[in-house]
């Protein structure tokens, strides 16, 4: 069973051994509205913690998606680039953004739990 954590920039990360899967939270998709464009990184790209890794655009605006954790991208989810609307339907399941091989598990541990994230969203309404 993989463990799931959350960032203040509204990304989720689930860790399975050394490989993390990253996506945007349901709360983020509700703020963004209808998602119409997604750009995911290619395998091999190195990303820093809180560095820009992907792009998501709704009918309203373009937003960067940051990697909550450092590492090397192993896969970008091409399915969501082909069907951006699927991010609205299943943001925390099949519509993940990218997978990466992590460098430092400490970065993962320092992220928020589900309860902490829900509380964070309540205290920081957009």
């Amino acid at each position: 069973m993989s463990e799931k954590k959350f960032s203040k920039k509204h990304e989720w990360v689930s860790l399975d051994g050394e490989v993390a899967t990253v996506g945007i939270t349901k709360h983020a998709t509700e703020m963004l509205g209808d998602i119409v464009f997604v750009e995911v990184p290619d395998a091999g790209k190195a990303v820093e913690k809180e560095g820009q890794a992907a792009v998501v655009e709704s009918t309203k605006a373009a937003s960067d998606v940051y990697s909550p954790i450092s590492g090397e991208i192993t896969e970008g989810n091409k399915a969501i680039a082909d069907d951006p609307g699927s991010v609205n339907t299943d943001p925390e399941g099949s519509s993940w953004f990218f997978k990466l091989k992590i460098k430092d598990k400490g970065e993962f541990d320092s992220l928020m739990s589900k309860e902490e994230y829900d509380k964070f969203c309540k205290e920081n309404p957009s």
Binding site: G33, T59, K60
Partner: protein, 374 residues
């Protein structure tokens, strides 16, 4: 009329008469031209867009200025100095799309002007209305009276079912032709309805007192007309190839560059007598250096406002002024200005988005075919 007094009020955030109704309908608000306006409701932009195209939607556009001018036979001539439409020959209850022009031929605002029994009614953009009135009043005399009527709301009803729904409530509106209007009775009050809009769909704009507007909305909602926010208003108008002032048009752009020379009356092009005519006459003969075009990115990338446009051999040739995802076209769409030699439909261009160049083509406007009743 004291627009000076109203200017102080406009500094604070204003609300339309329907503000609480929007709240009740689940609107998300944004500040727009000094007003708190709904950007979207619960359904979201794409669903609102589609329901306007397939059924009908209503838009609260009461933030726009409803500017009435009355006067004697000198009025049309006075207004023609700043508006390049053929106002002298505009029939009562007929409307024209036109603009206010500055001395350089730049567009101060774009507008719809309708001849009324006593003069004219001009619908002005919310962000421009105070300045517009200042500019217009320069040409008015003691024989002319004007009023920005803030006691009226303005509701746009747009979409293929609009006519059937509104004619049940206000019999006779079905007989209006596109860009004409008339007075109708509704609930012991007179209201003014024009057949017009900003979505590429058939529809109406209803000028109604602030007191009665909620009742009208009750009726529309009971007929499954959805509330539509500014977000979908933007995607609808862009698919229809219609300009948004402050983005696609501004004081430094003239009607020839804006590809809107069709909106200057034929007679006026020849005879002139309006602000900026010398410059516009020249441009009409020679063509302008840059021109407004439709743009379709090749893939899914959205080229938003200020995206730089390049030729295939990497020379900068223009910029995007509006860009979004078009839900009915099911693809990204944009408008912008390019050097005229690149304006032919089908011309390949490049769009620089987030530092990367993406292919695109100059496209025909509108992106979405209209269905106006002529």
């Amino acid at each position: 009329m004291g627009f000076e007094k109203k200017k102080r009020v406009i500094m604070e955030v204003q609300k339309t008469a329907l503000y609480n109704y929007h709240k009740y309908l689940g609107a998300k608000f944004v500040p727009f031209a000094g007003y708190e306006m709904p950007i979207q409701y619960k359904d979201g932009i794409v669903k609102e867009h589609i329901s306007t195209r397939t059924h009908a939607g209503f838009f609260d556009v009461s933030h726009m200025g409803q500017f009435f001018i009355e006067g004697d036979e000198t009025l049309a001539e006075a207004l023609e100095k700043i508006i390049p439409a053929d106002l002298k020959n505009l029939k009562v209850n007929h409307s024209k799309y036109s603009f206010l022009l500055n001395n350089e031929g730049g567009i101060i605002d774009d507008l719809i002007i309708t001849r009324t029994e006593k003069g004219f009614c001009i619908i002005l953009n919310a962000a421009c209305k105070e300045n517009d009135i200042k500019q217009i009043s320069k040409f008015l005399t003691n024989n002319h009276k004007y009023l920005l009527n803030n006691d009226l709301s303005l509701i746009a009803l747009q979409g293929p079912k609009s006519v059937e729904i509104l004619d049940k409530l206000i019999p006779g509106v079905a007989n209006l032709k596109f860009m004409t209007g008339n007075n109708f009775n509704y609930d012991d009050e007179k209201l003014y309805v024009t057949r017009s809009g900003y979505t590429g769909e058939d529809g109406f704009e209803i000028s109604i007192s602030n007191k009665k507007v909620e009742k009208l909305i009750d009726y529309l909602i009971s007929n499954e007309v959805k509330p539509i926010g500014l977000g979908a208003r933007d995607t609808l108008r862009l698919e229809a190839g219609l300009c948004l002032y402050g983005h696609d048009l501004n004081e430094k752009i003239n009607p020839v560059e804006a590809n809107l020379k069709w909106a200057i009356a034929k007679k006026r092009k020849e005879v002139g007598g309006f602000n900026g005519w010398e410059k516009i006459k020249n441009l009409l003969a020679k063509g302008s250096e840059k021109i407004r075009v439709g743009i379709k990115p090749d893939g899914k990338v959205i080229a938003r406002e200020n995206t730089k446009i390049f030729s295939p051999d990497n020379n900068e040739i223009g910029f995007v002024t509006s860009g979004t995802f078009g839900p009915s076209v099911n693809a990204p769409v944009a408008m912008g200005y390019v050097k005229s030699e690149f304006s032919k439909i089908g011309t390949s261009i490049q769009l620089e988005v987030r530092g990367k160049k993406y292919g695109g083509k100059i496209s025909e406007l509108p992106f979405y075919k209209k269905s106006y009743v002529k």
